[in-house]
Amino acid sequence: MSVLLAAENLELAYGELSVCRGISLEVNDGEIVALIGANGAGKSTTLRAIAGLLTPRGGAIRLRGEDITRLPSHERTMRGIALVPEGRRAFPFLTVRENLELGGFKNRGDGAKVKRMIEGIFDMFPRLRERASQNAGTLSGGEQQMLVLGRAMMSEPTLLCLDEPSLGLAPLVVRDIFRTIRTINEGGTAVLLVEQNARYALDTAHRGYVLQTGSILLTGTSAELGKDPRVHEAYLGRAATRAEAQ
């Protein structure tokens, strides 16, 4: 397995406020990697830096060995990194179809291909086909999550970054979303997943990193992390520990 994305010793800050220190992580081809940790641990900030929405104060980000640390977000998208941002951020006054078309901005010269890809997304999420000409702002939270996932896939990413895909969604919808994430991964797209719900994240991911107050506390396979008492205590809760002990 070759390394797709490598973050080396990232120092991240918003103005004067330092958020992350010495973050190093890797995503290999075909992997699902989870970043878990408490609120404010720096998970989203790390993801924003990888997508190019925040320029690191120090360290480097490489995509297949190429240094992309200072590349703006739109050029990273062209190179195969897609981010589904926190809060989904569908374009509220564009229709579902227009949102998807813009996801395929990379292929704007090939209208037939964009159309074909949109049909593919509609096959994955039939609900979106029904709402194709509705403004995205009128969709439910779950539908919007499907839309932004589909929109991100329209750029044919090699690395799909997801920021809190379960946030504010009903458990049944969350299950669907995570099933889709696995399907996308089986298609060959590597996934970097930031998730507060550590249970879902570890069930879906192959490996994980645990962030605590801006640094990496632990790393390992999902199975290893799931068994680690520190992860259990802090992120899976005692109830889960008890349930598994039985």
Binding site: L53, H74, L83, R89, F91, F93, L94, L102, F105, G141
Partner: protein, 294 residues
């Protein structure tokens, strides 16, 4: 008799309103995409008018071609103000900086035009101002037909561009959420440039069509821009449909005030409406309600 007068004033109002719409659309586009105001917009109108004037009266070009020249001059001014002001100041932190800088540009342009063209009004004659149509007691010049047709064509083209082209959709995406647009692979800087160039081209073109109606001096644009600002606010800042509606409304108010009240009261009526709008409907004629993203 009264019906004829009303019809006549509707014609006058629509002609005037079309011109206001062209000027106000540029302002509202820039606000919609950048959340910025270009205070030099009025002077782009003026310079567009002068460009058309000199193209016609010095170089002997046709009036219709001079409209295209004014459009081009406006577009070039847009490129220049983006390179000199909007692009470099965007990342300097304060949103006030570009706004104040464009006031500076406006003052510089007005004084430069005053130095070059002088304070004496130019008489912008087009062959179309003389030819008059008479229909059922009302009359209108060929010039006003040109104004309305060119305005309708421009608005239709702009609408089709925004609605049906990839670039137009990208532009709307940048207006709604610049950061997320970047994540789509759209270079927001490029689209901001495009917005400013389009807006400025509209201003230049409006200048060429306003000049025969107004008194052409280095301050010609300023007299229109105050109303354009009122239109943008009445229509809802950044709202294209609202701006078109408000522009026509203000044109009609102006023609009917002239007929039934007094031309001197035009500004009072328009700004009275503006005040009422700000108090009772601050989001504009057509308000886009932001939906909760849940």
């Amino acid at each position: 008799m009264t019906a004829t007068i009303v019809a006549q004033q509707i014609i006058n109002g629509v002609v005037l309103g079309s011109l206001y719409v062209l000027v106000a659309l540029g302002l509202t586009l820039i606000y919609g995409v950048l959340v910025q105001i270009n205070f030099a917009h009025a002077d782009f109108v003026t310079l567009g008018a002068f460009a058309a004037y000199f193209f016609m009266h010095l170089l002997g070009g046709s009036y219709l071609a001079s409209i295209a020249v004014a459009l081009l001059v406006g577009a070039l001014l847009g490129v220049a103000i983006n390179l000199a002001i909007f692009a470099p100041l965007r990342h300097k932190g304060s949103e006030l900086l570009p706004l104040i800088a464009t006031i500076g540009v406006s003052t510089m342009m007005q004084n430069a035009m005053l130095a070059v063209f002088g304070p004496v009004p130019y008489a912008f004659e087009t062959p179309y101002s003389q030819r008059v149509f008479r229909v059922a007691g009302t009359f209108f010049t060929e010039q006003s037909v040109i104004i309305v047709l060119v305005s309708i064509a421009t608005i239709a083209l702009l609408y089709a561009f925004m609605k049906f082209t990839f670039l137009g959709k990208a532009l709307r995406a940048v207006a709604q959420d610049r950061e997320t647009a970047g994540l789509m692979g759209i270079n927001p800087n490029y689209l901001i440039m495009l917005t400013i160039v389009l807006s400025s081209a509209l201003a230049g073109m409006a200048g060429a069509m306003l000049a025969p109606v107004l008194v052409l001096t280095p301050f010609a644009g300023t007299s229109v821009i105050v109303k354009a600002f009122a239109i943008v606010i009445i229509g809802g800042f950044g709202n294209v449909e609202g701006t078109i509606l408000a522009g026509l409304l203000v044109g009609l108010i102006e023609s009917f005030t002239t007929q039934y009240l007094d031309p001197g009261l035009i500004d009072i009526v328009v700004f009275g409406l503006l005040l009422l709008m700000l108090v009772f409907r601050p989001t504009g004629l057509i308000s886009e309600r932001r939906e909760e993203n849940v």
